[in-house]
């Protein structure tokens, strides 16, 4: 039976791959970064169950890796697609890892000795990684990779420390990029989203005030595998923060700077992060500034109710107008209108977390061009029909799941992934009959 191409190795791509592989269909899973896992691997906990995110995800990642029906292409991108459903010829460009995947054991010694430090993507920029590095502790495949733009050998022709210390002799500076050509029956796009950069919303001071973070940055701060080991040391002075505020809809649901749509998961993840703070230190003050609380999923309203009644998380309806920083203490003052009582008020806090919009990935336009599928007005992949064909793209045989076609939370992404797997399996079976 012809294989199926899955683009994107986040939770949606992983779920779609596993569903297909388990029913006996071969899958090629293409991932742009050095490891599969996606954004879910960066999260500390999940809502509404407060499960450890990586603990749910890692077994699925490992299963993808060891599944006989799944081939993972990391640091790869889809650069060409021709043909029709049942008979797509695709071209995959594999970028060099500069490490022999057959030899590397993932011991991490190279990374330990490497002299170059760069901000870590996995730690959302809060921590650092080396020029040769493992993406994160649970990376799959657990292989080192060299960031050629940072590496001293590639930029200045010096160093080669990693090659000297590698006990497996796996470092290979000569590795070239490689093109793989495949014939597949159908394609599943699960390329995910990216986060809105709140620098454009100057009144919140992100980028100017060290103690204003995005929710993903906070997720790393609160996580035990994060840069502070889960202590809420705020960036300006390392003080443990006990008074924290969340601002919802930063760059979403706005007609001015940002995007007009709802980002779907922020009300819930803010509540989750608020509860995490309370779990760390129950005497902490946590406030969530919201416009509307959107708790539409299974168990969501109960989760918010419990955050309020049991944990004492405070919810204030109002969109703050401005954040100010005390130049000496770096404490922050939030100016807002409490719209439930119609009063303009101020609140002093240690740390502010901006719940930013989920926006279309910057690669969508390029990938959409390669695949020949339409994008919507914002740059997400367009659905064939939002009601009756919600996981089909504008082109037969190409399916979309997860946040690449609009903001989604994990449960919805997983459900959609299984739906696309069923659709793709149908195509694979039909292609088999034709032959």
């Amino acid at each position: 039976m012809k294989p199926v191409l899955v683009i994107g190795g986040g939770i949606a791509g992983i779920q779609a791959s596993l569903d297909l592989a388990d029913r006996g269909t071969k899958v090629h899973l293409v991932e742009r970064t050095p490891s599969i896992g996606g954004v879910m691997a960066q999260l500390d906990k999940t809502f509404p169950t407060m499960d450890c995110s990586i603990c749910i995800l890692a077994p699925k990642m490992i299963e993808c890796y060891r599944h006989l029906n799944i081939t993972i292409h990391t640091q790869s991108e889809v650069v060409g697609l021709e043909g029709v459903v049942g008979d797509f010829n695709v071209k995959i460009l594999e970028h060099p890892r500069s490490v022999d995947s057959a030899k590397c054991t993932g011991c991490g010694l190279c990374s330990e000795k490497c002299p170059v430090k760069k901000p870590s993507d996995f730690q959302a920029g809060l921590g650092q990684r080396k020029a040769i590095y493992l993406a994160f502790p649970q990376a799959v495949p657990l292989l080192a990779t060299i960031d050629r733009e940072a590496c001293l050998w590639f930029t200045k022709g010096i160093c080669k420390t990693c090659e000297k210390v590698c006990p497996a002799k796996a470092v290979d500076y000569e590795q070239k990029e490689n093109t793989v050509e495949l014939n597949v029956s159908s394609v599943i796009a699960a390329t995910g989203f990216e986060q809105y950069n709140p620098k454009d919303i100057g009144e919140y001071g992100y980028g100017r005030y060290k103690n204003v973070l995005t929710a993903l940055e906070f997720e790393r701060l609160v996580c035990a595998s994060g840069p502070t080991g889960g202590l809420l040391n705020r960036p300006s002075d390392g003080k443990v923060s006990h008074n924290i505020a969340f601002i919802q809809c930063v760059g979403s649901r706005t007609q001015t700077t940002g995007y007009p749509y709802c980002s779907a998961s922020c009300c819930m993840y803010a509540t989750k992060e608020a509860v995490l703070i309370k779990e760390h230190e129950p005497s902490s003050h946590v406030t969530i500034f919201y416009m509307d609380l959107r708790t539409f999923g299974k168990g969501f309203q109960g989760f918010v109710d419990r955050a309020q009644s049991y944990w004492g998380v405070k919810y204030i309806r109002g969109r703050p107008g401005e954040i100010r920083e005390d130049p000496s203490t770096k404490d922050l003052t939030i100016l807002y209108e409490n719209t439930e009582i119609g009063k303009v008020e101020k609140m002093e806090v240690d740390l502010v977390v901006l719940c930013t919009a989920a926006i279309p990935h910057r690669e969508n336009r390029k990938l959409g061009g390669v695949l020949g599928v339409e994008l919507d007005e914002f740059g997400f992949f367009a659905d064939k029909n939002m009601l009756t064909a919600p996981v089909e793209s504008s082109k037969p045989g190409i399916y979309v799941c997860g946040s690449c076609h609009g903001p989604r939370d994990i449960p919805e992404s997983v459900a959609e992934a299984s739906a696309t797997a069923a659709k793709a399996a149908e195509d694979a079976a039909r292609a088999e009959v034709k032959q």
Partner: protein, 293 residues
């Protein structure tokens, strides 16, 4: 560089020190101020509640004069700059009104096309002259002095019209202060309104808003507040004693300067030529320190 000089009513009627300081520094910076014969009020946007057309007419008339001179229109007042900008935008969209205004302007031999470049103080000093020219003119650097910048609303808002500086994180006045050798200190509420436009509605609110900023500046032990807007200056400087009384803090004393006065001092120009005797806030101790430096 030559510019058509539009001091504006407020500077000419009661903020004479501002105009004096501008006239003192500009020639030394290589800027020739060309007088605009027949120029009148900028139009003053609140007049639009009586007649919007009259606002646009007076505003367009001044711009037509500059256009006729073939020079950029240099304004001292944030309010005038915004009035001209708004008119320019409105007339670019409304060709009927533009034609009507031009019909009236023809009687004076004037014509408005919207070609005259508008120059705010920030744009002239910061963008056109820039750090090198300003720094080269500074011969008595104000080293050791710390000032708070007050850009004033109309120099930064509304951002949709394109203002001289960023609406949420303005830095040009801070840069200009730093170029004199002094230090511009970031303080919370830098982009706050001075309150002056509320004066006709609620004097008490003006006092409270302005008092907040003066308290912040005093709390940080700054050497003063610096602005380029005559309306803001009128509040912080001229009304300072009233503010102190209204907020019940008689010790609220903050020296307030026009930026052009500070720059003049740094350029070694005599205090008497910078209109400093007209500042009503307690600037003397600062002047004494600068004089002795």
């Amino acid at each position: 560089m030559k510019v058509a000089f539009f001091p504006g009513c407020t500077a000419q009627a009661d903020q004479i020190g501002y105009e004096a300081s501008v006239r003192a520094i500009m020639p030394k910076l290589g800027v020739e101020l060309a007088e605009m014969e027949g120029a009148a009020c900028c139009g003053y946007p609140p007049y639009s509640s009586v007649s919007e057309a009259a606002w646009f007419y007076s505003s367009a008339r001044d711009m037509a004069i500059a256009e006729g001179m073939g020079l950029p229109l240099f304004t001292l007042c944030n309010g005038c700059h915004l009035s001209f900008t708004e008119t320019k935008h409105a007339l670019a969209k409304d060709s009927v009104l533009k034609a009507k205004i031009n019909e009236k302007l023809t009687r004076e031999g004037l014509h408005y096309e919207g070609k005259a470049e508008l120059l705010h103080v920030f744009e002239l000093l910061h963008d056109k002259l820039g750090k090198e020219k300003i720094a080269a003119a500074v011969i008595k650097p104000l080293t050791g002095f710390r000032f708070g910048a007050h850009p004033g609303c109309h120099s930064i808002r509304p951002s949709s019209l394109g203002r001289p500086d960023d609406s949420e994180n303005p830095h040009k006045l801070d840069d200009l202060i730093n170029w004199t050798g002094a230090q511009a200190v970031e303080y919370p509420g830098k982009v706050d309104c001075c309150g002056s436009s509320l004066a006709s509605v609620s004097g008490k609110t003006v006092m409270e808003i302005a008092g907040d900023k003066l308290k912040t500046v005093k709390g940080l032990a700054l050497d003063g507040l610096v602005t380029t807007c005559p309306f803001c200056f009128k509040v912080y400087d001229n009304r300072q004693r009233a503010i102190a009384a209204a907020v019940g803090d008689r010790t609220l004393e903050v020296p307030v300067f026009y930026y052009t006065q500070l720059l003049g001092l740094a350029m070694g120009i005599g205090q008497e030529r910078l209109g400093l005797e007209l500042n009503q806030s307690p600037v003397d101790p600062v002047l004494a320190r600068i004089g002795g430096a």
